[in-house]
Assembly symmetry: C2
Homo-oligomer: 112 residues x 2
């Protein structure tokens, strides 16, 4: 996954409405109207959110007659979690605990 694609995924996840949509889709596929129902916003607004999720490739659309159900795609989700885990790991190799580290820093500060 490129840097840009990763940015799209995180940006998509940065909105509560979109995360709620993903949570809903984790429990099963849904149409736009089904997804829009719980929200105090227009169908078009939800449609826009879905488009963002689609561009981030977090959901796939299917075509069933005039309905276009959304399906969660977890590949990018895993990639995003992977990025976090990777850098979390690098950090963990350096320090046991943040508190300890901060304490070390403060000692340096006091020595001024």
């Amino acid at each position: 996954m490129t840097t840009d694609e990763l940015s799209l995924v995180f940006a998509a996840l940065a909105d509560p409405t979109r995360r709620a949509i993903l949570e809903r889709l984790a429990r099963g596929d849904a149409t736009v109207n089904q997804l829009a129902e719980p929200f105090a916003m227009s169908q078009q607004a939800v449609s826009k959110h879905i488009k963002v999720l689609e561009k981030a490739r977090l959901v796939q659309r299917t075509q069933v007659a005039q309905s276009r159900p959304c399906v969660l795609d977890t590949v990018r989700l895993d990639a995003a979690a992977g990025w976090i885990a990777e850098h979390r790991r690098v950090w963990a190799e350096r320090y046991d605990r943040l508190d300890e580290h901060l304490a070390r820093l403060r000692v340096g500060e006091e020595s001024r």
Copy 2:
């Protein structure tokens, strides 16, 4: 962590510059100027990015004389990864593979 805080974290991670800053910080603490050096942008711009990371509580600042080093804080990072893992898990319980699922959907479509 509240929904808003989670949004701040994901929004902070959605920018390549900010992710690069975090990657740098994973390898060790750094000052603003050290962080700004690799980027083709002003120190003030980097300072703004750091502020975003600070509000998301992904970094903590310390004060050492006139310098204000940045320290990575992985707590929120873990929370963000946790959110992904949780909903990934719910989804995984339902379907083995996306392909299979999509195939099922297409069968339903044909039966119309």
